[in-house]
Amino acid sequence: MKPAALGPDKSLKGRSKSNPWFKEIWKHRMTYTLLVPGLIWLILFAYLPMGGLSLAFKHYRANDGIWGSPWVGFENFKYVFRDPTFAQAVWRTLYVNIIKLVITFPFPIILALMLNELRMGRTKKWFQTVFTFPQFLSWIIVSGIVINVLSYDGLLNSTLSLIGLPTINFLGSEKMFLPMLIMTDIWKSTGWGAIIFLAAISGIDQDQYESAQIDGASRMQQIFKVTLPNILPTVTVMFILNVGGLMSAGFDQIFNLANAATQNVSQVLDVYIYRITFQSSTDFSFSTAVSLFRSLVNMVLLLAADRIAKLMGGDGLFR
């Protein structure tokens, strides 16, 4: 059906019949114009730099540039897979991030549900501000706070000493490293993560709640029977996106909280890439090969999570 608002347009007459896609864009051209800056940004900073991935198959020479450097095939990957630290870093990354995902993912949802139940607007805003604030602190600051609290002569150990308990080496313990990552991640990111779920909750048709109340549903029943089913598509999308980042999350956090004592449990792929790029002889081709491998695994994980979500009856990420 021809949209009435568009009216006759001679310039589009020929094309609109053969190209409904262009017609649709023209119809909403004002809206699409708003996309232009974002699109340009995406092309400039996300798609064009992808050409640099060719470095993974080259021997990079700065004076020849990315395009002029000689091709070496899979030579760089040979060195990547020879390094046992690389394989360890891959498994460590998956291990750390899967555990972090499983434990931390529900927290923003729970917080969003709790905030949604607050009826007093001011209190709700106050709590939301308090929970969101840590997100705006960089990991350098957060790790500084954590180290000051948990160090040998820090707040926690001083308190333990005061009450006659033995001090604990929190920062040098491999066993405590992962819990420390999880706890700091929850503290820093839960409030921010909850915003997207709060937005999804605010979009739920209020009639559903009224109907539920008329049917005598309790608050808990409303949460489980109305709120959660309605935000499930958002939860699914967020989960898939998180799975897609399993190989690359957490550099700032881990890098700033790690030390020599915890290097065996903190050597994730991002830290490995940083180390081979900036702390040993510089070889950008080698670093790019590792990064490309990481991106490929991330993509496979993303597609797999999307497929599984669809098989389970969800919407998935790609239509």
């Binding site: 568009l6 160090s151 040098g172 040993s280």
Partner: protein, 532 residues
């Protein structure tokens, strides 16, 4: 409803203008303006703005002092100074060099593999062929480093100025690395009945630490740190003292069998690690020593006054700095409290690294203009001359120093002050390291200078008479390959991690050695094949 068909020109224009501006900014390049012509008074006519990167901290306002003004006036330059923190030095230079953002001249901690890579990629400025004739003072100091000539053979030109450690005041022969000198609290040693000597084994120092921990002569309670070493200090003064090939500088070496070996896998390294673990488990090292940054271990000794032993290093200037810091922070005379000594292995053998006469280097941006390069070289050449060295290390003649009747240098600075107090951050000493002049510098207490020279001479004697100095093997040092680069580790962190692991240290060490073989063995194979 009628759709507004006007094209949204304003936002599109704004985007287009932004892109044009971004492109213009990205493509613009600063060209040098001015040349090196001099006027009738011999002064440069044109002022040049020169960017320089150094590890000397220059605080706000310090550029305005008389000393810096002298250099700026004499060479008619305006500095764009970039301070590089010690901890991020290597990383920052790597970024700058690889991204083409290197300042006009920069101090760089020379790494051979990287150097060859940079030269290959055209990332460093190539000196003109006649530079040695044009700047003879630099050429003379350059020759003493040994490295410069060897690199020229490999690259066919000069791309780097290795910094000479000693130029005219070599303290001992053979030259041994200045590391491996510790400072301990002699007042506490007397209080616990510990004998003061010029050299101690690692176990003797641990015994001292145990005694002060037990008797707490400083009445510090839980604040006491018997041995204030960070991971790097522990590697130097515990592990290296027992295994000369445990450090990155000497990890690959040619053994008596004529084949190359990897030092961290030697039993001596395990001996050092066992001692380090013992010190940690007995609470002699701080529970979190491995988290300390560069200065923290020394600050516990000279700023907080809570440490029994710290790593000092062998330069007289280090001892002078310690004296000043203790006076300023603890209001004490360090001569009453500090004793310095060298560390020998538990088998009584002295170990250290044979010292080539260079440490770090100067490099120039490949985009530097000819005029700027020549102006900087003029400045360095002057700074390397006798007059320049006196100015850099003593200040102005007649104001800060003079010759006495016997033609000996005499400092005119007030008692208890140093040139650093009067003219802070004298970064203009770009080339010859301060180690050389510190041997004769009257601004440093004679006692400190004499002790420093004695330590150097003891090291040389002990090292060559039954000791084990790790030879500076040019074949290894100048060998460059991807395999060798990959087999480079941060040993101080690796060792700290090993001694902190639960379970049997020897088992963990063997496991660790095994885990590194896939990287180490290819490098060893290459080195062995290279020699055939």
């Amino acid at each position: 409803m009628k759709t507004n068909r006007k094209m949204p020109l304003k936002p599109l224009l704004a985007i287009a203008m932004s892109l044009v501006l971004m492109t213009a900014t990205a493509c613009s390049k600063q060209d040098a303006s001015g040349g090196n012509e001099k006027d009738a008074d011999g002064k440069y006519k044109d002022k040049l703005k020169i960017s320089v990167a150094q590890t000397t901290e220059l605080k706000d306002g310090q550029m305005n002092n008389e000393f810096h003004k002298f250099w700026m006036d004499k060479f008619n330059v305006e500095w764009d100074y970039n301070y590089i923190q010690w901890d991020s030095w290597a990383e920052k230079l790597r970024l700058w060099i690889n991204s083409g953002d290197l300042p006009d001249v920069a101090s760089w901690n020379y790494v051979h593999g990287d150097f060859m890579n940079y030269v290959d990629q055209g990332l460093l400025y190539k000196f003109p062929d006649d530079w040695k004739e044009r700047w003879p003072n630099i050429a003379a100091a350059y020759k003493l480093t040994g490295l410069g000539d060897k690199l020229e053979e490999l690259t066919g030109g000069t791309y780097i100025l290795p910094k000479p450690v000693y130029y005219q005041n070599k303290p001992a022969d053979p030259l041994v690395n200045q590391i491996g000198v510790i400072a301990l609290r002699k007042d506490w040693a007397k209080a616990v009945g510990f004998e003061l000597k010029d050299e101690y084994t690692t176990s003797e120092l641990m015994k001292y630490a145990e005694l002060i921990k037990e008797k707490d002569p400083g009445k510090l309670g839980s604040k006491l740190i018997p041995i204030s070493y960070n991971a790097d200090d522990a590697l130097t003064n515990i592990v290296m003292a027992n295994s000369e090939h445990s450090r990155v500088e000497s990890a690959f070496y040619k053994g008596e069998d004529g084949k190359f070996h990897w030092g961290p896998a030697d039993p001596e390294t395990l001996t050092g690690l066992k001692l380090m673990q013992k010190a940690y488990k007995e609470g002699l090292l701080n529970p979190e020593f491995y988290t300390w940054k560069n200065n923290e271990s020394g600050d516990n000794f000279k700023v907080k006054g809570v440490a029994g032993i710290t790593s000092l290093g062998g330069l007289a200037s280090y001892r002078q700095d310690m004296d000043k810091a203790m006076k300023k922070n603890l209001d004490v005379n360090s001569d009453d409290l500090v004793h310095t000594a060298i560390v020998v292995g538990d088998d009584g053998k002295y170990r250290n690294l044979e010292q080539p006469n260079f440490w770090s280097s100067l490099i120039f941006s490949p985009n530097i203009s000819k005029e700027k390069f020549e102006r900087i070289m003029d400045l360095i050449d002057y700074s390397t001359s006798k007059e320049g060295q006196l100015l850099l290390n003593m200040g102005f003649e007649g104001k800060d120093w003079k010759y006495d009747d016997a033609k000996e240098l005499v400092s005119l600075l007030p008692e208890g002050t140093s040139l650093e107090d009067k003219y802070p951050a004298r970064f203009e000493g770009l080339y010859v390291l301060g180690d050389d002049f510190s041997i004769v510098n009257p601004a440093i207490k004679k006692e400190y200078r004499d002790t420093a020279v004695k330590h150097f001479q003891d090291k040389a004697k002990l090292g060559s008479e039954g000791g084990k100095l790790a030879e500076y093997d040019w074949d290894v040092q100048l060998y460059d390959s991807k395999a060798k680069s990959q087999a480079s580790f941060e040993y101080q962190n690796e060792y700290a991690n090993l001694i902190l692991q639960s379970g049997d240290l020897e088992t963990n060490w063997k496991k660790w050695v095994q885990s590194k073989q896939s990287l180490v063995q290819p490098a060893l194979d290459e080195l062995n094949n290279q020699k055939k």
